[in-house]
Symmetry: C2
Subunit: 335 residues, 2 copies
Amino acid sequence: MRRLQLEDISKQLGYSKTLISMVLNGKGNQYGISKKTQATVMDAIAKLNYAPNKFAKSLRTGKSYFIGLIVSDVSNVFYSRIAKCIERMLSEHGYNLMVCSTDENEEREKLLVEMMVNKQGVDGLIIASTIKNASFYCHPRLSDVPMLFIDRVVPNLKANYVVIDNYGGSLELVNHLMKDGCKKIACFALTPSHLSTIEDRLNGYQIAIAKAGGDKEKVVIKEIAFDHVEEDVEMYFNEFLQTKSIPDAIFALNNTIAVAILKAQKKKEFSKLANIKIACFDDVEIFNLIDKKVISVSQPVDEIGKAAVDRIMEIITTKEDSKSNLILSTRLIER
Amino acid sequence: MRRLQLEDISKQLGYSKTLISMVLNGKGNQYGISKKTQATVMDAIAKLNYAPNKFAKSLRTGKSYFIGLIVSDVSNVFYSRIAKCIERMLSEHGYNLMVCSTDENEEREKLLVEMMVNKQGVDGLIIASTIKNASFYCHPRLSDVPMLFIDRVVPNLKANYVVIDNYGGSLELVNHLMKDGCKKIACFALTPSHLSTIEDRLNGYQIAIAKAGGDKEKVVIKEIAFDHVEEDVEMYFNEFLQTKSIPDAIFALNNTIAVAILKAQKKKEFSKLANIKIACFDDVEIFNLIDKKVISVSQPVDEIGKAAVDRIMEIITTKEDSKSNLILSTRLIER
DNA sequence: GTGAAAGCGCTAACAT
DNA sequence: ATGTTAGCGCTTTCAC
């Protein structure tokens, strides 16, 4: 059974393809087509369950009605929740979503951007970028692709952003720890360390300590590789034991690091470290299930998703692209 | 800057569009185009960074190189891990993925299928279906859409499946609990209860108890609504307390239910229920972080993804669609 | 108010 | 071994 097309409808109704196409695209009034005719056409279309061929339409109009979303890892809850939210919001605008993960690999991100723009012809891109050099995104080839960056700021890139206040959230969290009596707070950061989120959180940590009159020695930063989280955490745990320099709190800069720390703390060999207080940037369900009172900073996932869609739709529809910055607030969660 | 197209390459190289198209699509040898010419063409394409217009190509060939994935909830780790795996495997075949969530809503699933097939023109569909009636998928309109069902079996629908042995995994788990000395094992199931996964797991539970000589009274099944998990769990917990009929173990039929149970057990008001042993179908990271020794059944996520892609690619490329069934094994995880 | 016809960029059947 | 040409199904300009 061949798929229904405009011509079939045209023949059945006795109207031209043009007229039907106009009505279908909501331009009936604009072209002065009578209400009655419009109603007839819409009825027939609904009854016959006709849907225009997407490829023909896209070929003709140059629009794909697809938005690309690029994140480091869709299987990380933080991103999968954002993705779900964005998908929902987009569908309200008649747009579809295509999601890909970079695994924090810069080359892969570039490849994905090229692919989405060049081969898939997406109408816009929402990116939580892992790239440290603005130049890639400055290439003229990308200059007229509507683009919105979320979660992370690309160093030196003036663009449209929807991010959260990483510095502020971090500062608040560390201050809270100190008020709680913590004297020696170590910070477990993430490599690639150029990520703006990590940098800002690190900054908040350092400033908080400095403001409290802490000297250089109080700042203890350990770098964890993205793809080696558990191993690296254990490495630093061993270091703590050997040097007998054990912090009274650890501030994990993202949820995977916190989870790895909690996991390590349960191991027999690290029993001496089990009492270290844990704080985490990003709040996850796990923290509600364990005895340990993890203190965390929660990110407004749905707000991020909604703001991202609002903004990219605005860029697409108005063609106006005067770089904008939206910074959302975090919320401290004590337990 | 206008986008590069076939004609530009054609003019620059002095070859016809046809020849270039042939080479581009790997049909150079088939059409007897000299190695040298092919090399020249490929070089130029690489140098100029030319990519064919996807819409024109799709319009002409009728292929979109998009596969749709429909699950109940992409933000559930089980599905997001599957989605990520499928995306990777598909990209090796030059295909893209489009993921949507149904929230266990049958109508939404139908809508999504229609949309993907009708409006997006996907080349194939991978579905973890929530539908209870085979008839929707039997409609001739869908008969020539390559389709593969994962995770869940649609009642009475003969189709291509890649699922796991829910019955066997459940049986093994409950047997293990009984061997551990549990006398009264309650089962927290999920509504919509027609889901084959839930049904099979429920079956495994009942058979295990029956085989052990357990009478009717030993079978305690509580139904939890998909969108009310936490509330329902607490409701049953209250019931346990009021009727003073407290099980010594609870078998949660999926990960969200287990998490809700663990959460409730931590509440003061349910302290009397805190010692109930918990078992769960599906293994999640959380279980490694809590003191409670949750016993679980782990599902081979990557195998499911890989098998799904292999099979749907086979259906698409060979056009052969002799319904197949692949049942993968689970693994018991004791703690 | 409505319709005819051109053309979006590509592929494949048919020429040569 | 390479080129000509006819559409794929839609939108939109222009004509009536």
